[in-house]
Subunit: 304 residues, 5 copies
């Protein structure tokens, strides 16, 4: 199968990567309903680790079973399924070759006393489980940010040599940022740019608000009249901050969205030129049928 | 000998493991009185390290001798014997091949100034001593939890490559948890789930109370009407939190149980669908004859 | 092509380096408009990482695209382009062989809580991207200085063995230094000397003021009547402090310079006997045509 | 030479060790006046490192010379000589093969600001110097105890693979222990047990007093009526706490003992069933002739 | 050339070292005016790193050039030249084989916030630069002492295996020591002894005063009537504390000495039986002719 122009164009941006990594990028882009469009929707399931099992799965108890999520991602025609090592081990063989896997290599939890994460997965783990990519979270602004970037460097160097794709969750937090600052548009753009500079192939950030957090940045946004008035404009700014669109950029769905506002955000992400979404609790916390319907709407938006 | 359906079903859940690890899982499941039932009772003896020799063994001084515990586990028809490196070295040759061994790779002690553990055993140690598994304790909630999970990752990656089984003791403690919180049902379920996500093959937690500790979790338990009214229901919830029963789950006996309440707990563990128990002080702190009688009652419950 | 006397003389100062490193020094010195003169002008683009994308690139949005900077450096006839791993990966193949690359191996950012940097690039990264050199920042005076020097030692040992050039950004800061102290001439000279002692091939410091910061140093400067009255004299002193000119010494442009004062500083750097300049925001934050004109003036000064 | 029954019996307790370690155990047990008895007297000389040279050697200045101690141990017919790397290097060739050597791998000093030790010797050092064993100190109760146990694990794993014997000095100290607590019998027994659990072949503790330090332990000692009324009884309890005598247990001489009380302690150590003594300052701080006389009395007690 | 008896006698003290290290010891002892005498005078130039370039070299600006120091050491007929990696790299090829080199592997600086050092050179660096020895500073009494001793162990193990000599600068400092304590005779003797115990081949300490710093040591010095009344007597005591003269012991010149008092100290060092001196600022901070004259006087004293 020859590549579509969209995938071909994206691939050109990864000019320094080896054929192994390029092949895995193609796997991610050529799977599911969005195959060939250059767009991605990914199912991430690390919420049990981060928030606890009942808070994540009690609303739809089928989700306690790792196989449910593999199936959901496959049936919904998504591009990839991302999870920590334990959940992937529980289904990687049953669903081998049916959907690209992303090994989420570090995780935090709600009992933790510090704004850090444990590294629970490695590149050899990703390889033996047949993954196409590793995932890693950094907290720019946290007192552990340099440590996390050092860990990312080690994992990314090994992953790239092994032909894997590197996905970076860039979630700002820490003493310089209040709650509003964590999703301020200057901070989200900075978070995306840091991930790009640190060598990510795929960048995941949160949908930004129109707040501006760093005074020195605010001055520039106002002086240069950067358009941050709509979600679409903000997304476009973050695409630009990701090496002028040379890096695949995807957004999380947000925690408290109702379906309508979620779909509005998805439309803005599409309109702003980003590559897609990661949809976790918004999909697996409702019955499968409803989840498939919602994910169908989302992939339709990105296709359209 | 072909596998029983119970063991065969359990084995399917470890679909990503190599034949070496599968063989060691079979060794654990096909040893002793519970062979073939899919249930396990394990004798752990690290209390001398954790609490001191007299507090552990003075009540039944035969227990000062490591050989006593090997014999006790073998005569009682248990599935495995778990201990730190020194105790295993003292008997691993005399009892070679007679019972599966679990090398407890980290240990704390009662003189320690911090909620952490020292790593005293390694995967090469486990292999040269003929062990089937390594054991490792994490303290979710402790300020050392990320460090411990990082240590677990390194040991587990090496153990899985070497065909060993990974048993995780998941014991929550730390600044966010008071004494009651350490055994609250939401916390125990979370502890089991974290061990599963971190890649444990076998998970050991404490029997949960009906307390709910994290406010955000409590809200969900109440909204979703999760049944935590009986020990059996709570055990079932923790089985569910262990990847919907895809991971072997065993419970410790608890410190102050009299025999009657201990057996009640065992019955609830069985009824709730968990795989077994770890019985330490409740067995080796009484005369051998009484211990064998008690362990016989316990294995009978799991068999029945 | 045989070497010019200027390049040949410089090369003699690197008498302990292997032919690989010498070849890369020649690549740096024999590229662009200043080829053969023994002078260098380098384009560094890590400001997006250090200060955020909008503060760095909004004034000239073409700069959001990594390819823009490769092109700018090549068209301006500069000696090298320096950037973090992500930006280099985005263009290293398109522009392969057209300009020597310096992989900036560590970076800080404006959300950081500590005066440190993350190591985001490695020697294998530099080699696979076709770089001639690695770049590394140390903060003499910071509580992380020993840590950074240790990291530099590891990277430099590996880089020298691999035939790469080691460029050290030596930027003093920390509890003993107020803002004025960071650019005081005694501190700049000390910063250059530390980089030389630590094994740098090329040293980058900031243009010094005539302030004297350390009391013990001030006494010596006054007693020995060291001339620090003009920028030219101060540059000459720092050249002397870099092993009497045996190490290539270049200066940054400074943050708030208008074009006129920037060119004055460049003239003083030339007159004082240093080897060149690193020009970042002063070039890429204006339209390309203006940037090329400015860089042309600068290279003309160094040639003249 | 065939083994005596005593040595043969001891060797059986080291059933998990390789022939190399067994051979070195035999070397330790079959050297000197106590050869074949299963008893050991060892000369340790690390007091210069721990307390300074004058405090250690001025009383008998011959002791400034490392060769003096090799000679003293050999002439006295002791089982082994233990010292840090520098002192062993100074005589290991002159006295090669004349007495088993123990490389003391970590040391503290009287200028130290923390209750820790530096690791100054390694397993390769022990091997190249012809040593039969490594020695390592842990401080149970210290805030560095887990770190020290981790260091011990690494050294012990390497030593056992190389056929060396592992001797652990287990000296409790730290915030939970006052001066009396450091030698309380429950604490000494616990210290010996921890060393056994951590995999020591030979355990060295201090002679215990009849104090009981941990309240939870005290309760058990009283309830179980453990006999701690005499030094002999206490030694017997510590032998029991060392895996019921399966590990070689030796005692230090104590700092302020006069000769008479020292010999009384030695007799109690013998009577209580321990394997021997380490005699440092009590031997080398007196003239050689007196030291030989004293050591002769001590070996006679153990022989008798 | 056969060895002189003096060198031959010294060599016997290094009985555990391999022929490579012995050959390098001979190189150090058989170079320059003192060849064959068993005495050494070494030129160390790390003051630019430690105190800054102007404070070190402005008094005699020829010293800004690394080649000056190589020449000075060679022309003065010294035994060796010691410097950090950068300074050695700048001249090691021009002066290859003309004088033994000591790579000073760690260095502090005057902007540092902690009593520690950075490791800037390695054993592979020493080998590729043709060095005969590595040099390393420890600060007994500092909170970094154990860390430094651990670093020394790693470097020394590697250096000895590679046939290099290990020179230890032992400079006490830290919370337990006031300024006078740092050079008190008990502390200097202890510092020399620690370096010997840690495995140094050559020990460098500062000339001691007649102060006694540690109360427990003071008691012994007075009780044993250790002669500390003259510099000669104190030097003799420190020779004794260095394994009764089995380790080469050299002294620094001291910071504020005028030439006369410096020469007096040198005479006392000779008379006390030490092996030589390290002369840095006292030589290179005066014009070359004067420096050569002074160094000639010093070597004459050691020869005489």
């Amino acid at each position: 199968m020859s590549l579509t122009p969209q995938v071909s164009d994206i691939l050109k941006n990864y000019e320094s990567d080896n054929p192994g990594t390029k092949a895995n990028l193609v796997r991610l882009l050529n799977t599911g309903k969005l195959a060939g469009t250059g767009k991605l929707v990914i199912l991430p399931v690390d919420q049990g680790f981060e928030h606890g099992p009942a808070r994540s799965f009690a609303a739809n108890p089928a989700g306690y079973d790792p196989h449910y999520h593999f199936s959901l991602a496959i049936e919904a025609g998504l591009n990839a399924f991302a999870a920590p090592i334990g959940m992937l081990e529980a289904g990687a063989s049953s669903f081998a070759g049916q959907i690209p896997l992303i090994l989420k290599c570090n995780s935090s939890n709600s009992l933790a006393t510090e704004k850090d994460q444990a590294v629970t997965g490695t590149v050899p783990d990703a390889l033996r489980l047949g993954c196409s990519a590793i995932g890693f979270t950094i907290y720019p602004g946290s007192e552990y940010c340099f440590k996390q970037m050092n860990e990312l460097r080690e994992l990314a160097e090994e992953a790239k040599a092994a032909g894997l794709v590197v996905v970076v969750w860039s979630y700002p937090r820490g003493p310089m940022l209040d709650k509003a600052g964590e999703t301020a548009v200057d901070i989200c753009a900075y978070a995306a740019h840091m991930a790009a500079e640190a060598g990510a192939h795929i960048i995941k950030v949160k949908p930004p608000t129109d707040a501006l957090s760093l005074p020195a940045a605010k001055k520039v946004y106002e002086a240069e009249k950067i358009d941050i008035s709509s979600m679409e404009a903000r997304v476009r700014h973050i695409v630009q901050s990701s090496f002028a669109g040379r890096r695949i950029l995807i957004f999380s769905g947000g925690e408290h969205a109702d379906t309508k506002s979620l779909l509005e955000t998805i439309r803005a992400i599409k309109a702003g030129g980003a590559n897609g979404s990661i949809i976790g609790r918004n999909s697996f916390q409702r019955p499968k049928k409803e989840a498939l319907a919602l994910l169908s709407e989302i992939t339709d938006i990105f296709k359209g």
